[in-house]
């Protein structure tokens, strides 16, 4: 195949509106995966951070286990664990066949993964607050809850917003790992398209543009939000 023919084929793929629709649907799925996983991650992150900052040694240990286990293994393995190993274990234990929804378990796996990173982000946001703030709140006799709610967390929140946004952007890209288990998202859509056209690379490039647009839009919005947050300081 000469170069002219190759570009002709690319042009054929690029000029078919159906292909954009396919990729757009894939992109929407990627956003759904990333969004659910992100929110899940924040919830798990708050829980994880309160475990890791807890006075109770055992709870701290639990928090550490979660973070180290997840951050110490590739996300791909975690996805495969939830798709392949977990159902096998459940089948072994219950004796009944257990079939999972790839999309759901994949999203859960990514959410649990994100939770470990969010734990560290939130934890460092909280411990990054100047000791004087804790002491001032304490000397003003605020209860622990009021201190967290009105003094510490609002300040931690501001510090945590920028890394949380980049975590979301990371998740949009990481959601592509779901293609390994054949769950629909942007990369998988591009792979299907590649197989149909016997041209693997070009659809991937197109998907790349979609990823770029999504992440660019999100980081632009994030910059505006950050600026507004900074103004209130």
């Amino acid at each position: 195949m000469d170069i002219q023919e190759y570009f002709g084929k690319c042009l054929e793929i690029a000029s078919n509106p159906e292909n954009y629709k396919t990729l757009l649907i894939g992109a929407v799925y990627s956003l759904i995966v990333a969004s659910i996983a992100w929110v899940m991650g924040i919830v798990l992150g708050i829980i994880g951070a309160s475990l890791k900052l807890n006075k109770n040694k055992f709870l701290r240990f639990l928090g550490n286990c979660y973070v180290e286990l997840i951050r110490g293994t590739p996300m791909l393995l975690q996805i495969l664990f939830f798709y392949l190993i977990m159902p096998t274990l459940i089948t072994l234990i219950t004796g009944n066949a257990f079939r999972v929804n790839k999309f759901v378990v994949g999203t859960i796996a990514i959410g649990i993964n994100s939770g470990a990173y969010s734990t560290e982000l939130i934890r460092s946001g909280i411990i990054g607050i100047d000791a004087g703030q804790w002491e001032a709140a304490m000397s003003l006799n605020l209860s622990h809850w009021d201190m967290m709610r009105y003094v510490i967390l609002p300040q931690a929140f501001k510090q945590v917003v920028p890394p949380m946004v980049s975590e979301y952007i990371t998740l949009i890209k990481d959601s592509s790992l779901l293609s390994t288990i054949g769950a629909v998202e942007l990369l998988y859509s591009a792979q299907i398209m590649g197989a149909n056209y016997y041209n693997y690379l070009f659809p991937l490039m197109m998907a790349g543009v979609f990823y770029l647009v999504m992440t660019f839009v999100i980081s632009s919005i994030a910059k505006k939000v950050e600026r507004r947050l900074a103004e209130s300081d």
Partner: protein, 251 residues
């Protein structure tokens, strides 16, 4: 000179002199039947990678390399004659070329002789022994995995009532099958057999979804040549070169 001999041989057969024809056959070897002395003229359509294609004007591909190997076993020179695919069968029958090589798959409708297959593959159904699935017909309403972009994916799509899940990686498909996430997986025969051997809970169904066998064709009147080709193919398949070429061309 050769032509005359050939005509004589045909004439002898036509005369129905069975006794003498037998002796004649002993004498007439396949080499004598070649169009050009000591040369095997091969009709080929170089537009079918990885079997054969043109690269910078040079013909490359599995078939091309294979003919270079067969040349050794046959002991005649191989000469390629490029033509469009659809004309190869006619060219063989009309005696313009001795054989046709172009990734031919067995097809009884083609009025030619087919050699033993030099490449065999099939898309088969791999399933769990206890699944109760015995044929493609049992897959209706079931989840069938197949590898993205393969003939297996096309074949799986043809299975009536089955919902097909595509994945890039055959390993993950088989693991998903083992983990009970799928009911069957359509894969290449060799791949399926390896899994069957490695895991006693898996079984390859006898009936393949698609047969893919490639052979060399020659004219129906050239059985002697076909015998010689089959011999050569058998030797080729025994040789190390066979596996090397399969790897080289990703067969």
């Amino acid at each position: 000179m050769k032509k005359i001999l050939k005509i004589a041989a045909v004439a002898a057969m036509v005369l129905g002199c069975s006794a003498c024809s037998q002796t004649q056959e002993e004498e007439i070897s396949w080499q004598d039947q070649l169009i050009e002395e000591n040369t095997l003229i091969v009709g080929i359509s170089p537009d079918y990678p990885p079997y054969e294609s043109l690269e910078n004007g040079e013909m490359v591909g599995f078939d091309v390399d294979m003919m270079a190997e067969l040349e050794k076993y046959l002991g005649v020179n191989v000469e390629f004659e490029q033509m469009t695919f659809s004309t190869i069968v006619d060219a063989v029958n009309l005696g313009q070329v001795d054989v046709g090589v172009s990734g031919f798959t067995y097809d009884p409708e083609r009025q030619v002789l087919f050699s033993d297959p030099y490449l065999e593959s099939a898309q088969v159904i791999l399933t769990k022994k206890d699944s109760g699935i015995e044929s493609a017909a049992d897959l209706s309403g079931k989840v069938v995995g197949a590898q993205l972009g393969t003939t297996g994916a096309d074949a799986a799509a043809e299975i009536e009532g089955a919902s097909v899940e595509l994945n890039q990686d055959a390993n993950i498909l088989v693991e998903a099958l083992k983990a009970g996430q799928m009911d069957a997986v359509v894969v290449d025969l060799l791949v399926a057999q390896n899994y069957e051997e490695s895991d006693s809970s898996l079984v390859v169904l006898d009936e393949p979804l698609v047969d893919e066998e490639n052979g060399i064709i020659c004219s129906t009147s050239n059985e002697l040549l076909m015998d010689a080709l089959n011999d050569a193919i058998a030797q080729f398949k025994e040789s190390d070169a066979y596996e090397e070429l399969k790897t080289k061309w990703g067969m």
